[in-house]
């Protein structure tokens, strides 16, 4: 938490240093970061829209540090398959949501409500049913949001609700594509 606060102070300082966003292009990320205070959930402020991600190296760096440094902290391996079928394998600390993990690793998973279970944009498809069955049942609230998820399948979940735990080591998650029919690794979505 203190790291996060540090990052915020850094962001604030940067903001104060360059009041106009055009004074220095390279600090635009800090400016953006510092002024985003809509969310009252400080932890979630870490999650960044994919587009801006690269600018926010300060806050990302600090959080990466914690996962690397903490040797007591175990991680699991997670593979994201993006809209174009490209795979990215990342290590995710136990206890972290797939949404946060994706955002810390520059993976383009949307998260409009930043993990508040109010948007369904973090929809992921668990590509292996065995892994799907290892997850706890979705709550009514998650199901309510899944109802509205684009391209829902029988193994769909919300990325912000899937939390890394040891049994999930090796899980593969597909991010549904909107502009073309979704079929990754021969996976054909079944309607609910």
């Amino acid at each position: 938490m203190s790291n996060l606060r540090l990052a915020r102070v850094g962001a604030w300082m940067a903001k104060e240093l360059c009041r106009a966003k055009f004074t220095s292009m390279s600090t635009a990320g800090y400016v953006q970061r510092g002024r985003n205070q809509h969310s009252q959930r400080p932890f979630e402020q870490l999650s960044q829209g994919p587009m801006i991600q690269k600018h926010c190296y300060l806050s990302t760096m600090t959080s990466n540090d914690t996962s690397k440094e903490g040797s007591e902290q175990k991680t699991i391996s997670v593979t994201f398959v993006d809209k174009d079928g490209e795979e990215k394998n990342i290590e995710v600390p136990i206890g972290m949501s797939m949404l946060e993990a994706a955002h810390q690793n520059d993976i383009e998973l949307e998260g409009a409500c930043e993990g508040s279970l109010a948007c369904s944009t973090c929809h992921v498809i668990v590509m292996d049913e065995d892994y799907y069955n290892k997850l706890e049942e979705p709550t009514d609230e998650e199901n309510d949001m899944l109802d509205l998820a684009f391209g829902l399948t029988e193994t769909s979940r919300l990325g912000c609700q899937v939390i890394a735990k040891p049994e999930l080591d090796g899980i593969r998650l597909a991010i549904p594509a909107a502009t073309r029919n979704f079929a990754v690794d021969g996976y054909v979505p079944k309607p609910h």
Binding site: H38, Q40, Q48, T121, D140
Partner: protein, 486 residues
């Protein structure tokens, strides 16, 4: 002048970014506009995006539609703000397409224009009495409680009767029902407009009818909203058990729709729950099915005021597999009330020079490319003109729907750029932002930049903090003007 000069300087610093920028204007700063801008910025590194909006405040229905007690839904504003502050993106509020600037002018200035200005009118019922006092559209009522500057004088009369009728059973209907029925102590800590909060605190409405022309298997709402309204403190839910009987056609519909099935289950469960609430502040919500409004009744003692709705009972008729429509049975029934909110859908409005399908209330398009002819069949394109969001698809879908909608529109733009569809204008240096700002300056139109909005934003938060609210919206044109002129 100073502003204009500053803007021009800004613009110059931009043009060095890329020798040949693709100049894009997005009209409307709701979800469709912002998602389009985000995807364009990403897909085209040489693009320079200007988002204009008729209001001095951004975010469209995220600010003026999404209910005040849904703060989590509004978190997406964080993402949109990052887009607005992107170095190749600008926001210009207080600029109205159709009056500040015409569509033809905009298309002259930019290589690509994407219209995402939503649906700011209402579907009408076209039945007698629709203009009586006390009959409002849900859109106006929502704008009123959400502090939209166009509806601050609505002044709905919540005191002359204890009953309100809401027509339609979509999510908007549920939103307005919840605002009418939820204890005001719970609303007091939201960003609800204080004018509306004060009126609701004095409201005598205790009974709300949510009336649908079809059955519980066809209710247009979603489970999340329904669960929420069913859970309101001190509220008795009334649903006729007979209405819950399913025909084979209903069963078929439910089988193929997860949403409908879950909504139906929630309604059935609620129908079987005993009413436990008694006492002074007890409130009632009645779900009424199979009734279509026939006419509004005028009050005998208050001429010009509504006193109820005359409904025709309906049955469902299958017109195609999975689609049943309501048809009248010739039997009628009245519900007395002092206020009616029509929540039967929004409708887009055309601007001059824009092909428009008046029947569907949308701009005719092929995956976001505006078609020259409103009638089907035509494939002639309006070069460089695109559409997204409610103006493209009609007034349905959640915020996320606009993300996929924007993806489609941006995909079409990219495809057209690649295939040379925009060849006639692309080689031209378009004036873009500089031209827009000059034109608006000449017309004496004071643009509101994103920086200006941030001033409004912090003032709203400051005012809110004084009342234990996340923000107190500046909701009249005067208040807003004062804030950004300062």
């Amino acid at each position: 002048m100073a502003i204009f000069q500053a803007r021009t300087r800004l613009f110059r610093s931009f043009s060095t970014l890329s020798s040949k920028p693709l100049r894009v204007c997005v009209v409307g700063s709701g979800p469709a506009g912002f998602y389009t801008a985000e995807k364009m910025l990403k897909a085209h590194q040489n693009s320079e995006i200007d988002i204009i909006d008729r209001l001095p405040v951004p975010f469209g229905l995220v600010r003026s539609g999404v209910a005040p007690d849904h703060p989590e839904t509004k978190i997406v504003i964080n993402q949109f703000s990052r887009v607005a502050k992107h170095e190749r993106c600008s926001f210009f509020g207080n600029v109205t397409l159709g009056s500040s600037i015409s569509l033809a002018e905009l298309r002259e200035l930019y290589h690509v224009v994407v219209l995402a200005y939503g649906a700011e009118s209402d579907r009408s019922l076209g039945i007698p009495g629709e203009n009586l006092k006390g009959v409002h559209s849900a859109r106006e009522f929502v704008w009123w409680y959400n502090g939209h500057p166009d509806c601050q004088n609505l002044d709905p009369d919540l005191k002359n009767s204890n009953t309100a009728v809401i027509l339609g059973q979509g999510n908007v209907a549920l939103d307005v029902a919840r605002i009418l029925l939820r204890p005001t102590t719970e609303l007091a800590t939201t960003d609800i407009a204080s004018r509306a909060l004060a009126a609701l605190e004095e409201s005598s409405i205790r009974k709300v009818y949510l009336v649908g022309r079809r059955g519980p298997a066809q209710a247009a709402c979603t489970a999340k909203e329904l669960r929420e309204v069913l859970g309101i403190h001190n509220l008795d839910i009334h649903i006729l058990e007979a209405d819950l009987l399913l025909t084979p056609a209903d069963e078929e519909e439910l089988k193929s729709s997860r949403i409908q099935k879950r909504v139906y289950e929630l309604l059935s469960k609620a129908a079987n729950t005993r009413h436990a609430h008694t006492g002074l502040d007890q409130r009632e919500l009645h779900f009424v099915f199979f009734r279509k409004p026939d006419c509004f009744l005028e009050s005998e003692c208050r001429t010009g005021h509504v006193s109820g709705v005359h409904f025709e009972k309906t049955i469902l008729k299958g017109i195609s597999p999975g689609k049943q429509i309501a048809t009248g049975t010739g039997q009628f029934e009245d519900i007395k009330c002092g206020m009616v909110l029509k929540s039967i859908g929004y409708k887009s409005v055309p601007v001059d020079g824009l092909p428009f399908d008046h029947q569907k209330g949308v701009v005719p398009n092929n995956k976001g490319r505006v078609l020259r002819d409103a009638k089907g069949g035509s494939t002639l394109l309006e070069e460089g003109l695109y559409v997204c969001g409610w103006l493209k698809r009609g007034p349905t879908g959640i915020i996320a729907t606009n993300l996929y909608c924007a993806e489609e529109t941006v995909f079409s733009i990219s495809e057209d750029l690649e295939k040379g569809v925009l060849a006639s204008s692309l080689p031209l240096q378009k004036p873009g932002r500089e031209g827009l700002l000059k034109l608006l300056y000449d017309r004496n139109i004071r643009i509101v930049s994103f920086g200006d909005w941030e001033k409004i934003d912090s003032e709203e938060r400051r005012l809110g903090s004084l009342r234990n609210k996340p923000r107190e919206k500046l909701s009249t044109w005067e208040e807003l003007q004062k804030a950004f002129m300062e």
